[in-house]
């Protein structure tokens, strides 16, 4: 019970921090509300004040608020998928980007962007609209299956195999994306390049609703799995003895992670390293207790991505930096730190 209340305490503190960052982010931007703070304007939007100018309302609600919510949703899901995978593979280097999941999602999404025009008309309308999203999900899922099949034998996952499979998938993805870049037109090329580095600029409430649905479904299944993942650290056999259905747990994590990474890539492009940075920091604070770090990574992922996004759109005004540049800049050193720490055991 004591640990439980400790968890709630940390969850509350981090949620408050997230709210503070969201308020700061809402007030950051090039648009001037004529002396009013963005927070006041948002208050008026919520009250339904009819005296508010259309542009003020649009910037605060459809541009900034939508983008903040998208950063919170995507940051959260990327971090939780990273934490879940690390628990499953029992390795701090297992994240969507490093084992090739993001690359697989990116590849199929890129195919949909460049070649989609040729076969779009033969598909049902609902599928046409979300073709890039569906492709990203399939890409993430296929990569996940491939990584898992190749690196696991007799119920044991070989970490080196897993990372090397990731390297191979990333290489294949890179070469095919390279080919697509070669045959793409100038405008498609710019879309691909920008999209390869990630951006939350295209946030809309419709996308947020879809992401929220994915998040709710995944979290209902994944978040209560902390204890099971703790047991998995003892080894699959021991976990089985403790009454955990190991095969079912693996399947759930694989499907949910692919679903989350796939939908995130589809809406924001490739934003790397969030799934590596967040669990790393949490592990420093709380050790490898998944009952703690799994729910906490849901909030810390949001904190990290929202902060990075607010910087990305305010340091080179009026333009913005692709957010993937910032997260990779943070993630690189942490990746090296993990390698150094685990040098002996690898």
């Amino acid at each position: 019970m004591k640990t439980q209340s400790k968890l709630y305490f940390y969850l509350t503190i981090s949620t408050i921090l997230l709210v503070i960052i969201a308020v700061w982010s809402l007030n950051t931007g090039v648009y001037d509300f004529g002396g009013k703070s963005a927070f006041e304007v948002l208050g008026k939007v919520i009250q339904g004040d009819s005296g508010l100018s259309l542009s003020d309302k649009y910037v605060v609600w459809d541009v900034r608020a939508a983008r903040i919510i998208m950063a919170i949703l995507i940051g959260s899901m990327l971090a939780v998928s990273g934490t879940g995978l690390q628990g499953l593979f029992k390795n701090p280097l297992a994240t969507g980007d490093l084992i090739g999941l993001t690359s697989g999602a990116t590849l199929l999404a890129a195919i949909a962007i460049v070649l989609g025009g040729h076969f779009k008309q033969y598909l049902p309308e609902a599928v046409q609209f979300s073709l890039v999203g569906i492709s990203a999900f399939i890409g993430a899922f296929l990569s996940m299956m491939l990584v898992y099949r190749i690196s696991t034998s007799g119920g044991k996952t070989n970490v080196v195999m897993m990372l090397l499979t990731g390297v191979a998938i990333t290489a294949i993805g890179f070469s095919i994306t390279g080919f697509l870049i070669y045959i793409s037109k100038d405008d498609q090329l710019r879309d691909l390049t920008f999209w390869n580095l990630g951006s939350l600029a295209a946030a809309t409430w419709t996308k947020n609703i879809i992401l929220t649905v994915v998040l709710i479904i995944s979290y209902i299944i994944l978040i209560p799995k902390g204890k099971a993942l703790n047991a998995m650290m003892l080894g699959e056999k021991d976990a089985q003895h403790l009454g955990i259905n190991v095969e079912r747990l693996k399947k759930q994590i694989i499907i949910m992670t692919a679903l989350m990474v796939g939908s995130c890539v589809a809406f924001s492009g490739t934003i790397g390293f969030v799934g590596l940075i967040v669990p790393y920091i949490l592990r420093l604070l709380f050790k490898s207790n998944y009952a703690f770090i799994l729910p906490l990574s849901a909030i810390f992922g949001s904190i990290l991505l929202l902060t990075a996004d607010t910087f990305s759109r305010s340091i080179v005004e009026p333009s913005e930096l692709p957010i993937g540049i910032l997260t990779a800049l943070m993630g690189g050193p942490i990746f090296i730190a993990i390698l150094v720490k685990f040098k002996k055991s690898m």
Binding site: V30, Y31, S55, R190, A201, I216
Partner: protein, 292 residues
Amino acid sequence: MKKFILAASVLVAVYSCKKEEGAKKENSTEVSSETPKSTHKIVTLNGGITEIVSALGHEKEIVGTDVTSTYPESLKATAKDLGHVRSMTIEPIMAVSPTLILASDKDINPDLMGKIKSSGIKAEVFKQEFTVDGTKKLIAEVAKAIGNTDYQKLNDKIDADLKQVQPIAKKPKVLFIYARGNMLMVSGTKTPMDALIGFAGGENAVKDFEDFKPLTPEAVVKANPDVLFFFSSGLQGAGGNEGALKMPGVSQTNAGKNKKIIAMDGGLVSGFGPRLGEAAVGLNKLLIENTK
């Protein structure tokens, strides 16, 4: 808890739908109340369109432009540079409080287009064709969008300029090289350069593909151009004439052997606006000088 989250997401959905309806209504009243006024605060997102608006005498109404809008130069002081249309976001556009956004269908990114549509700001997206008639049509459409009917003189000027183009007896084969950083692209058919080279009395050296493709040494040798054609900024970035002559394959071509390299201002050459005739005459002169 689950119920609460579900209820909250449904609320958000309903609220955002309501918003859209409201935005549409307000938008329609805003537009009608503005129609009688002849001045706008315009954001132009294409170099050619920017030139048309300026040439029609509305330069002072332009409050923001994209990176390709380099002419007239005086705009730099009065209009905000919003960057490249492919990486532009909506908030900096909203920040200059435009009442009208003018863009071309070719270069605007779809996400930004969606945002502009839902922002409620009046926006016109024009189809840009790289032909003389297409340019005249664009001028007429842009003029209509900003409420100016006095555009015929611009079209007449294009015709008058084009008449000055001198025929070249033996059409020189011209290879346009688009140099951006380390990337070198050559222009195939259906590009502004292909059209302009034709108007100027030359012949595009590459005809076997559309749009721009990366430059390969073999392709350059095969195309065997008589003249290499660059944007001034691109040629400078590629190391000037010296640098261009060292590009792979170039030394094997007529252009390389005779050191025939020309460069023109990128905005003038690719704008396809009121200065189309001027650009064609300029290129025509350079081609004549370099084919003697």
